[in-house]
Symmetry: C2
Subunit: 105 residues, 2 copies
């Protein structure tokens, strides 16, 4: 998931896939790399659940997957929760009047 988002081109594809309804070839036209390269990127994004393809005529339109993006965001949210949890625990510790046995080291 994060691995899929790690590549600049792929993040840009996701961006385009959000509001455009482009096929793979049209997407590829925006970049200075080969069609096949772009297609591989799309495949990776698809496997990561960030994008999905729908056959329309002879094209396959690439659409961003909101739910997929939400999954990634939620993972980052978890970190913030952990952070908050840590702060809470520290606060509780202080509130309980508990001193640290080994002040620092």
């Amino acid at each position: 998931m994060f691995r899929a988002l790690a590549d600049t081109t792929r993040r840009d594809i996701v961006r385009r896939a959000i509001d455009a309804e482009e096929g793979v070839a049209e997407l590829a036209s925006h970049y200075s790399m080969s069609f096949a390269a772009v297609q591989k990127h799309v495949a990776i994004l698809e496997r990561a659940g960030l994008v999905s393809k729908e056959r329309i005529g002879r094209r396959k339109v690439v659409r961003a997957n909101l739910e997929g993006l939400r999954v990634a965001r939620r993972l980052l949210d978890r970190y913030e929760e952990l952070w908050r949890g840590r702060v809470d625990r520290m606060t509780a510790l202080v509130a309980a009047g508990t001193e640290m046995e080994e002040p620092e080291r």
Copy 2:
């Protein structure tokens, strides 16, 4: 940034860095790889602004950087904004009674 989060070990280090106050060596003890490898991971996370080190005695304690994590989350939020913007534009389009020239083909 996303590249830094792309590695499993690094994400785990971030997780630990949130509530633990461990030095690089202590962090390394959790993983089955060499000390140097873990240190390189920490260096990458540091360059990405996700983590910072503070000298305490002869150790360097690794702490997660909340602001860094927020940056990543905000980037993902932007995608959702784009998505919403797209929906809004479509709604506006429909509201304006504008028909698509090429319905779908």
